[in-house]
Amino acid sequence: MELTYKDFCNEIKKGRLLGLKCEGCGKVIFPVKSFCPDCGGNKLKKIELSKRGKIKTYTVIRVAPEGFNPPYIVAIVELPEDVLVMGNLDFDPEKAGLFLLGKEVEIGYKEVPGDKYSGGGGIALLFSLVE
């Protein structure tokens, strides 16, 4: 595929949030695919996505999967390119509330070392509120 998860991780570490764009119809694609969901084309090229977006929804995970330390916030952020990304919000979970909705965030990342079931490590996007 044009953009693999491994490349995605490497690039975010260099400060670039990557997605794909369909050369046929212009659709911005995230998460990555081998075909465009709109036109079915397979000429997709890497593009850099905005590293700012707005919180669409969030939750505080208090009962966590093995390997994760609750409480922490998981949020979905909407980018100007009309794509969604999921990640953690770097914010005190005990102070989280509906006021977070719509707030602008800067998109960074944190490394997740991975364990026995994760097929190696990866990254979680990490959102920080823009003051």
């Binding site: 969030y58 009962v63 794509v83 969604l84 909705l101």
Partner: protein, 388 residues
């Protein structure tokens, strides 16, 4: 296409089981074959649903062993896995083969053990049904996915979260009230709104009593042609329509709507030549209280953004406009994920045959099954009707 009917159903009690995956399936299959008054020798193929047998019991490749445990050799067997929609998908596959003359009589169902894993490990394994790369590393969980949904539902439809949470709590109360009447349910106790409000927070805004439990259990159904069914039983339950549809990761979807459900239900209704108004009883995927609200909308029982009002008016009670989860649903009957869809089919078959006992919906002639897998990424619907 031949008309297809369910002629036997079986289900273990749901809850904590010492029995193995195979033993539970053996018990459910035994009950289903007894119900159908058929010998296992008449079963030509087996479709089994199981999600996490490898983690829970070190048992993968379960399908040939499920055949073996009911004394069968040589027959085609398949294990299907579509997260929590698993058993419904297995049953749909089975129905398609009979409808198309591949086989005449088959067995389908599901078996699952989750409690042995404990909560953190089970939570981890359940969460594997999300996209492991673009969602999993953030530590999303199933309660978490539906919590994201609840917040968004509140926002998109302008329902204040406190109001929404009150209705969600009422759904938990309703489903426990129903489950208390179901001798096979995991939880058979009535709860109050205060019980819900006082329970621990799992994933804001979902509290423990907004969530279905981890459960062990199995269920099985015998499927054959309507023609044969009419010869061997008095109350064949006809499969009038089926639908299956998928979607990608949450971030690829149009939440708070679940488009995979809307598509699957549309196909099922069209096949059955029915509309939501024709459904007399529905067992749907209330893995979380908010999930029941969204499902009742996706299935067309209520307008989008309006489903939260229904429980208030008693419209989804037994005896209401559209009884939802009279068995107690995933919330109270329990949710052994790979077996849930088969339990729903068991329940609807019993309803149509008027054998549901204390949770019978009077005169139910058409019933719907709705099962959702992953974070809204796969939904399977079945519509069943009386064949007599």
């Amino acid at each position: 296409m031949r008309e297809v009917a369910i002629v036997g159903v079986g289900m273990t009690n749901f809850g904590k089981h010492e029995e193995t995956l195979l033993e539970m399936f053996g018990d459910a299959a035994n009950e289903a074959l007894l119900d159908a008054q058929l010998s296992p020798k008449e079963i030509e193929a087996l479709f089994i649903g199981n999600c996490l047998g490898d983690f829970a019991e070190g048992q993968a490749n379960i399908s040939p062993f499920c055949a073996s445990v009911i004394g069968l050799k040589d027959i085609p067997t398949i294990r299907v896995e579509c997260a929590c929609a698993t058993a419904t998908v297995a049953i749909r596959e089975a129905v398609l083969t009979v409808a198309n003359g591949v086989y005449d009589t088959v067995l389908a169902g599901g078996t699952e053990k989750t409690l042995v894993m404990g909560t953190p490990f089970a939570t981890r394994t359940f969460a594997m049904a999300s996209d492991s790369r673009f969602e999993g590393f953030a530590g999303i969980t199933f309660p978490g996915a539906f919590a994201l949904m609840a917040i968004l539902y509140s926002r998109e439809y302008g329902v204040p979260l406190e109001v929404l949470k009150e209705k969600m709590a009422m759904i938990a109360v309703k489903n426990h009230k129903n489950g208390a009447k179901n001798p096979k349910a995991h939880f058979r106790k009535v709860i109050t709104i205060d019980d819900v409000k006082n329970s621990i927070m799992v994933a804001d805004p979902l509290q423990l009593y907004d969530c279905c439990p981890f459960t062990d259990g199995a269920a099985a159904v015998v499927i054959t042609t309507l023609e044969k069914a009419k010869r061997i039983c008095k109350k064949p339950v006809v499969v009038a329509g089926t639908g299956l549809a998928s979607a990608g990761a949450i971030i690829d979807q149009d939440i708070p709507r679940i488009k995979a459900r809307e598509k699957a239900a549309k196909v099922a209704y069209a096949q059955a030549g029915m509309t939501p108004n024709d459904i007399d009883v529905c067992e749907l995927h209330d893995c979380f209280t908010i999930a029941e609200i969204i499902a009742t909308e996706g299935l067309g029982f209520f307008e989008h953004g309006q489903g939260w009002k229904a429980v208030d008016k008693g419209e989804t009670d037994i005896g209401g406009k559209i009884p939802i989860n009279p068995s107690g649903g995933l919330k109270a009957r329990g949710h052994p994920i790979g077996a849930t869809g088969a339990a729903q089919v068991y329940t609807i078959a019993k309803q149509l045959r008027e054998e549901a006992g204390e949770f019978q919906v009077d005169g139910a002639k058409v019933g719907m099954i709705d099962t959702l897998g992953g974070d809204f990424s796969v939904v399977c619907n079945l519509i069943l009707k009386r064949g007599w």
